[in-house]
Symmetry: C2
Amino acid sequence: MSERRSGQGQPDKTLALLWRNHRRAAEPTTNEPARQRGAGRRPSLNVDDVVQAGIRLADEQGLAAASMGGLAKELGVGTMTLYTYVPSKDELLDLMVDQVLVERELPGPGAPRPENWREQVEIYSQQTRAMFQQHLWLSQVSTIRPPVGPGMLAGREYLLSAVLGLGLTATETNTAALAITTYVDSAAHLEAESRLVERTTGQTNDAWWFERNDLWETYFDVDQHPAMTAIWHAKGYDSTPADSYRYGLDRLLDGIEAMKPL
Amino acid sequence: MSERRSGQGQPDKTLALLWRNHRRAAEPTTNEPARQRGAGRRPSLNVDDVVQAGIRLADEQGLAAASMGGLAKELGVGTMTLYTYVPSKDELLDLMVDQVLVERELPGPGAPRPENWREQVEIYSQQTRAMFQQHLWLSQVSTIRPPVGPGMLAGREYLLSAVLGLGLTATETNTAALAITTYVDSAAHLEAESRLVERTTGQTNDAWWFERNDLWETYFDVDQHPAMTAIWHAKGYDSTPADSYRYGLDRLLDGIEAMKPL
DNA sequence: GACAATTCTCGTAGGGTATACGAGAATTCG
DNA sequence: CGAATTCTCGTATACCCTACGAGAATTGTC
């Protein structure tokens, strides 16, 4: 939750970076200088080097370690050298995020996939959660204005294609897909945040709760919390976050499926 | 997402602060010094002053403005003076969060409430979203290890009591309640984050997308994105985030209700 | 081989953050 | 009046991002 990631100077440049490894659909009418290679000092790095180093450092030592200074040290260059390859820290983060998004293994259009739409959604769920678990720092990055790159678009495309199979109206399909991503992405986000806190504090969640045992003995008022007390006495608190995630996703899909036209 | 909010030194002290305005259930056997007032310089502030100022500053000028330095200036004291009242910035954030949680208007046990469980959930949804909209900075604060104070407990209690009306098993009730909070809290979180970004950048989301029009003209590949293209042509992209939230919550509750025993 | 044009490299400087430490000021009690 | 207690807060440290501008490296042309 940072104050950063507010604005990027030139959207055109950002898009060009995000789509740097893809062919352009068609050459626009404007005849650009065509980026001649020849004169000038040779670059010692390229954009992918910086992005990969950022991901690796953030994976291994946390997002804070992927500072411009830390990254430069890792790559053996001066800090300001990085700004040759990337316009700002914010845009670097966008590139890192879209890179891990694109590395999900979601079947593209025409690729083999399960027939059942729920199993298709399940693939999205598994891949997304695995991505967050592998890159815990994702939980520290706002994606409210996501990187508009190949990775993000592939994710949207896949989930929409899965929900399309239900035969709902176009608007309803889109709405349902958004509801599913909200649930899945948010839960994956929370799972990653939880593990990240355990790692950085060196304290498990159980240990954290145990430290707060005083709550129940000293402050908790049974009369004010009859429902919690009832659940407690009925041993209803033994479910894990993963159980809760599973249950919620299944019920959400139940509800959506029930809207299917006959 | 900050690296902060990792650990609080003494959980006992933290709990005492969170529950500072509540009677203790019973005096423990240990006979404490009883905190005698008398000797010593008089404090110029109290904990609530600091917490309220923090909330006000964060509401009006953003979470970054609620720094220890900014807060001290606002209160007319030296920065380090604040540490008399609050052990650290992290704990101050906990106090701020629980304060806004406690200000939700959720019917307590015994208070009048709708009979229908869905309408009870609706109150939770409305109050939580209103809270996030009033305090946009909440979207910048991790609550993966929430403040274990009266506000958080009241929220959990209320939602559990609403779901209890369905007659599910204790474990299923707890699981369903967790799924609902995940969905509602996360969506409220995202809504607030969205508005916060609009405010701090001075750019609406529509304007942001418009800036990226090049995406569709230059980079978007129709063959790779048939589902998105189909939805587009069928005018399926006209729904708002609020529509999607409403739809998803209704379907989730549908799915949960369908598990009700006959 | 010299020179211009181009491009990459990166040191410095500036304004921001939380908080450990310790000296000093205010207040009450004996 | 002195001791004990409690609140007050200046200073110093170690980070963060990045604007600016001078310098280094490379190529093509004459």
